[in-house]
Amino acid sequence: MVDFLQALVDGVMLGATYSLLGLGFTLIFGVLRRLNLAFGPTILVGIYAGSHVGLAWPGALWAVVAATVVAAILCGIYVERCSFRALARQAPVVSMISTFAVWMQLQELVSLFEASRTMPYPSPAWLPALTVGPILLRSDALLMWSGATAIMLALFVLLYRTRFGTAVRAVADSSEAATLMGVNVSVIGAAAFLLASTVGGLAGVLIAQSQQQVTPYFGLWATVKGLTAMLLGGAGSLPGAVAGGVILGVVETQTLWHFGGQWRDLASFALLFLVVALSPRARSEPTL
Amino acid sequence: MLSVEGVSVRFAGISALSSVSLAVAAGERLGVVGPNGAGKTTLLNVVTGLVRPAAGAIRLDGQTLTGLPPDAVARAGVARTFQSARLFSRMTVGENVRAGRPLDAEPWLRLVGLLARRGDLAAALTPGEARRLELARALAGRPRALLLDEPCGGLSAAETEDIAALLERAIAPGIITVVVEHKLRVISRLCERVAVLHLGEKIFDGPAGALRADRRVLEAYLGKARAS
């Protein structure tokens, strides 16, 4: 029972970062109605930038965080300009196609800029571990979870308690109605992108510091996790993405506990499959 | 005979259709009118299987269509057109009429006056031509029932006249026809009988001529105060 609870707690904490990734996808898909497949790769560029800064200035953790987030934002701006704004008048799927071309570019960019493929990512050394009864909360997981939760809270305050946030949600609900209410949809779109890139960059920081390394595979990994979280919660729903991330985290850690490491990844893919196979919305999605 | 029996459809808590019943015999043409949001397109969608009814049944010559997927309903002999002509813009006019079926497109193209455009991509057609192509495509399958969703929507007066004339001569006798339309002149020209839907309910079902005198219909279109 204790083990089940431990796995559950671990799963919820892990799930918080998946929720962030899911939120990043959902912010763009919900507001712009287009899937940004370059989202994971932009975070990849961010964490590699952070890693380089960490090697150049050991101990300057804030510089690492800043480098990661700024790099992610810059990539996000690139994607927004080239794949979304430039293709705004085309069918939604064309943007998605353009983003996977950006994915190709960012993947190669990362491989051009470092000597070895896996690089270290610094993490704070001074974190305590907590014990609540029989449950152990590891320090890196605790940081990941508290950081993710803080970011999500800030995001929800922004989206549900400010005028800007209301405009974003209005556009996500119906861009035509929002335009009629005087909202500048393209500005909101760009702002949503900025928000998603920032959230993504911060998610990258939290995940990378927990794993203490970055690999080129992270781009695809983050994409699968984020997409699963978003689709689990019903594509386009922000609270749904949060729930989806937590569910994914719990399923993963329970699988890890009961069946071992090999099955953990398979479980997350299987979960995505289940959503695709069973979701009624999957049938009504428009094709090309 | 196409019969709709007590069909109800609900979307997200709203009753799009409430226990609607209709019957259209072979060779008969029924017009379906009603203010926006009355449920006219939903009625067509539920007959063609795009939407599942919460209650009721749909039958064509005794064969139950309720619950069948749209492609099975089509193969049972029901053809439809859409509010905005859904053509395959990347395929030619001829290919659109054939729509993957083993038939000769030529006579149908001749019937609607598009034979000369046979080799053009459907994207190149004007809205009026697009409607004619969609009609040819629907008729080419020699359906037992033909459902038309606002065949004159968005057309100018001259184009409307053309389409209405075309419908009069192109629809073979013996086909069950249901025409959803806003333009009452088109309805009265084509259809002997009319059903009026309002907020999901059928409030009138009778000869086209009696339409304008019916109190409930007037109330639905004009509001209670003005109708009296």
Partner: protein, 299 residues
């Protein structure tokens, strides 16, 4: 012909099969990021047939194609109804699922003095049927090219047949297609099986040329590239993706200084082209105009 040119043409041929595989699904309107999975399944199956069970080369490659086709049919049971981003996400997950599953796939059989067969993460080595059979590499290249040519012709014929009409209808508007009696699920299932077989064919041809295969060959970049080839070359004809492959690999060869930047340049080309031609160079409109020209020229 130099060895280098031969190897280049084999590479183009193999990648063209995977690109055609993605193309077939694009015709029915589905974007698949997972065709690399069928490539690898075909490769493993073909390798097992020839290296473990002594099948002749041609038979082994066919086995690979069939195995991948069956996998496509099985996947369609889950994925056929899905479209749009759901299909994209599901196919992405499938590609990774196959890769991860193959990391644990051990199937070794004694052949002669050694154990041969898939060894999990270490992959599957010693697939030498091409080289022990006495066929020259140049002959192999010609066979690959010939197979590609035949396949392209078959696809062209398919797409202009009634079946192809149904596929193109589904690709443009599923609802209208269904309302005209097209069995959309069946079209999707058969197309997924066919696309799987094509990618598997490429996998079987690949594996015998390089003599080994590993889970990492189910690489998402292979899937992404296959799509990119179709979108650059054009969706109006199977020649489109083949042109896309030639463009990319030709790009690398003509401009050596681009070696480390090929994906950046190619990706940029795709992005730029999408702004003006979202369906590629040889899109349906272009192909239609060309066929009109040809018909006019014949008169």
């Amino acid at each position: 012909m130099s060895d280098y040119a031969v190897s280049l043409l084999v590479r183009i041929g193999v990648e063209a099969f995977v690109a055609l595989s993605a193309y077939l699904l694009l015709v029915i309107g589905r974007i698949s990021f997972g065709q690399q999975a069928f490539f690898v399944i075909g490769g493993y199956a073909a390798g097992i047939a020839t290296a473990l069970y002594g099948a002749p080369l041609a038979v082994g490659i066919m086995v690979g194609a069939v195995a991948a086709g069956v996998a496509g049919a099985l996947l369609s049971a889950v994925m056929a109804p899905a479209g749009g981003i759901y299909f994209a996400a599901g196919s992405l997950a499938f590609g990774e699922l196959v890769r991860v599953a193959l990391l644990s796939f051990h199937y070794q059989v004694p052949v002669g003095a050694d154990l041969t067969g898939p060894a999990g993460a270490d992959g599957f080595r010693g697939i030498r049927a091409l080289f022990t059979g006495g066929m020259s590499v140049t002959t192999y290249m010609l066979a690959v090219s010939g197979l590609l040519a035949v396949t392209s012709v078959v696809i062209v014929l398919l797409l202009s047949s009634r079946w192809g009409e149904a596929m193109r209808m589904v690709g443009e508007d599923e609802t209208a297609s269904a309302s005209l009696g097209v069995r959309v699920r069946r079209v999707a299932a058969l197309t997924m099986a066919g696309a799987g077989a094509l990618a598997g064919l490429g996998g079987g041809l690949f594996v015998h040329y390089v003599t080994y295969i590993e889970p990492g060959h189910s690489d998402v970049m292979l899937g992404v590239h296959s799509l990119a080839y179709a979108f650059i070359g054009g969706l109006g004809t199977p020649l489109g993706p083949i042109i896309g492959v030639a463009l990319d690999i030709g790009l690398l060869e003509s401009f050596r200084f681009l070696a480390g930047y090929r994906m950046i340049v190619f990706g940029g080309l795709v992005m730029g082209l999408l702004v003006v031609r979202p369906r590629g160079l040889l899109d349906e409109v272009a192909v239609h105009r060309l066929s009109r020209l040809v018909a006019w020229g014949r008169r």
